[in-house]
Subunit: 204 residues, 2 copies
Amino acid sequence: MKYRKIPEETVRRLPMYLRAFSLLRTEDIQTISSRQLAERLGLNSPQIRKDLSYFGAFGTRGVGYPVESSARRIREILKLNTPQKAALVGAGRLGTALVAYPGFSLFGLEIAAVFDNNPKKVGRKIGPVKIEDARRISTLRKRTIRLAILAVPADAAQSAAKTLAGAGVKGILNLTPCHLQGNRRVKVIDVDLASQLGILPYYM
Amino acid sequence: MKYRKIPEETVRRLPMYLRAFSLLRTEDIQTISSRQLAERLGLNSPQIRKDLSYFGAFGTRGVGYPVESSARRIREILKLNTPQKAALVGAGRLGTALVAYPGFSLFGLEIAAVFDNNPKKVGRKIGPVKIEDARRISTLRKRTIRLAILAVPADAAQSAAKTLAGAGVKGILNLTPCHLQGNRRVKVIDVDLASQLGILPYYM
DNA sequence: CAATGTGAACAGCTTCACAGCC
DNA sequence: GGCTGTGAAGCTGTTCACATTG
């Protein structure tokens, strides 16, 4: 396929594919067709073929997609082939839950630093990670941590985001219901749990 | 505007608008233009005008949108004008964090029941809510709880979803990284935090 | 023959430009 | 004059149909 801009939606689905391929590997399945994969993921098969084809030929005609090498290639595309460290800002209940969340490891993601501005929390440990004072966010640059999860109260979100941008962070998973004023160099993904739940009654 | 099917994307944005209008009300602002609102939310103004116009005229030309009545109308559209109860399935760290999450109340959402299949947890309280045995999920129908948050381990997701559907639940916020085999009567919204974080390195 | 890879058709969403109203 | 409401245009993403390949 000649080069075309990769749709954002395709990128959003890549982690799903990566997870599926990783799982298939543990099931000792070496090859899977787009149709079978589609069934597992609740998509349709042309979608999967097109998505993967944006990155060149993954599969073998007549056979399907090789599980192991496909996983490897998606990991490379997403830059998850080397372990990625993330910082958590906000050691509240939600943040604390995420530090222990087992789902990140499949993607080689690890929460390697936790910050909070409550002096009572600073110094405590969440699992193996010590809570640091929020003023130390600026040390992220030296520590080569470029990802952050923002889980602070709404009124602290904007200023924390600014601090993170200043510390060289390149991507923020924003769990606050606030729109973070744009820093063009930082990619922000918003996840607003209350809004998501709030949509459901509409469909009843 | 003559009737047209309302885009799913529009519905997804309604909670954002509702939150913004609710917030404006606390700031004693009575009216806001689509441009000002767009700035706050990080959207552009035609988007907002079109979204709201799907539901009929909200605003006043030359003036803007009336904060209070717009909030009320969106609440009606989303069926959030009467308080909605939700059940949480899975009293792990993430689930526990959500019970205490203050963000739901703005939408009139309340977690009114918690289930877990770990006998050690059953009977304990999370805040004001007692953890019940997962076998009691079937009581949701009588209790008129039609929403659920699914926060169980991956291997328990599918069966829990089936039980919820059997208990008359109409909407599930699925926090597990699993595709729930379709029950056509249940609307499922998937939120996969690990995947969201996994996308970020791609953009670095 | 089975399944990928892909141009082309299609559908859905966003943006534009401006008519309509206050 | 200012701002909404909206058809139309433009764009993005999905689905189709099939040529292509092992």
